[in-house]
């Protein structure tokens, strides 16, 4: 007579038992051939089921499914229902720039210095990232290693810009003469030589939503702000 029920037996087979419980079951199995036979039945069932469906995983992907994914990867998602209008920033001038060259930020900023430094306890942009934030306009950045997403005024005043690169993406806001990085997330990655624009990271969009006052700058407003050195006020 044992206290090992069916649920414990199958949890043993599924590898779900902690060490202590597994040993308890093992001891009961050693003493009870009937129980051991039931466990063996459950183990055979698992092997038979997984073996039955395993060949499907090894098959080549059907052409229709592959084509569906490949077609989708080529298309910049133009329609994004139920998102604010300004999120379609990728459409206008950026269509021409929809392929972003896959240059790592590190290569251009001279390696050791990197795109971000910590000064007085705050992350600040430097090197290539700082100059992209200073000078690059979202409407004209074909081939740029770092791509500017949105330029916008934050609540309480001051300019912020979202950016996207191969190794890092994020949001930075103007503080004095520099750019304080508000958020940093891994970039588009090194997996491919180029990638689609307009695939804004959801985390960055959340940060922009939290910071933004009104609508993001259009091309003219952005250019004017850049000409004034991103100082506050219109």
């Amino acid at each position: 007579m044992t206290d090992i029920d069916e649920a414990l037996l199958i949890a043993w087979v599924d590898g779900e038992l902690d060490e202590v419980t597994r040993r308890r079951v093992d001891r009961a199995l050693a003493e009870d051939p009937v129980l051991a036979e039931r466990l063996e039945t459950h183990r055979r069932l698992r092997v038979r089921l997984s073996g039955h469906y395993a060949p499907i995983e090894a098959e080549p992907v059907p052409p229709a499914m592959r084509a569906l994914l490949e077609e989708s990867a080529k298309v910049v998602p133009l329609a994004r229902p139920a998102t604010p209008r300004w999120r379609n920033w990728g459409i206008g001038g950026a269509i021409a720039a929809s392929l972003v060259l896959g240059l790592g930020i590190g290569h251009l900023s001279g390696g050791s210095s990197g795109p971000v430094a910590v000064r007085n306890g705050a992350m600040v942009a430097q090197g290539e990232l700082a100059s992209a934030l200073d000078t690059q306009l979202a409407s004209a950045q074909q081939g740029a290693a770092i791509r500017i997403g949105l330029s916008f005024q934050r609540k309480g005043g001051g300019w912020c810009r979202s950016f996207e690169g191969q190794s890092i993406s994020g949001v930075a806001c103007r503080e004095g003469e520099g750019w304080q990085v508000q958020q940093l997330v891994p970039g588009a990655g090194q997996a491919t030589d180029y990638r689609q624009a307009s695939s804004g990271d959801a985390r960055i969009m959340t940060t922009v939503d939290a910071l933004i006052e009104g609508a993001p700058a259009d091309a003219a407003q952005e250019e004017a702000a850049q000409a004034k050195g991103w100082r506050e006020g219109e």
């Binding site: 649920a7 459950h42 469906y53 995983e57 592959r66 994914l69 491919t192």
Partner: protein
């Protein structure tokens, strides 16, 4: 890595899951294709940093449940006099496909939906109980009792040797 190439990487497993839910391979691939289309449309809802495979399992499973329900409704609406003969089956297609199906396919197909999906996620896809319970949106205890009942039924259908 793009969203699409991430999907492509897990596609072999998604097809396997679809096949284990569906009555035959063709239905499985239809389900898988529909799940991909749904995922591409709903891509904004996926949270980067969370598991894409779990998200896809959930999409596929929900499509499958919806489809199973509408099939049952159609069966009740259009063929009430046959209901007694074909409970849980889709009529004469069943007879045609019967020849092609193995013992395992038939046994899986005979399980109630909630047992079949639990068995598919844990025994075929190799998910942990915690992961499977999350995909199905049920407590762990519910999942394990479905696994116990589903396995009992399979062993009975497939014979003691399983």
């Amino acid at each position: 890595m793009s969203f699409e190439s991430d999907l492509l990487a897990i596609l072999p497993r998604l097809r396997r899951f679809a096949a284990s839910l569906s009555r035959d391979r063709a239905d499985g691939d239809d389900l898988c294709q529909a799940a991909l289309e749904r995922a591409l449309k709903a891509r904004e809802q996926w949270q980067p940093g969370t598991r894409l495979d779990s998200w896809m399992y959930r999409i596929m499973r929900n499509l499958w449940i919806d489809e199973a329900r509408s099939r049952q409704r159609a069966a009740r609406t259009f063929a009430p006099e046959e209901a007694g003969e074909h409970v849980g089956h889709a009529g004469d297609r069943d007879v045609e496909a019967h020849v092609m199906l193995s013992d395992v396919d038939r046994a899986m197909h005979a399980l109630p939906d909630e047992q079949r999906e639990a068995i598919a996620l844990v025994l075929v896809e190799g998910l942990s109980y915690k992961e499977a319970a999350e995909v199905l949106g049920v407590p762990m205890g519910t999942l394990t009792s479905r696994l116990v009942r589903g396995r009992g039924a399979l062993i009975e259908m497939l014979g003691e040797a399983a």
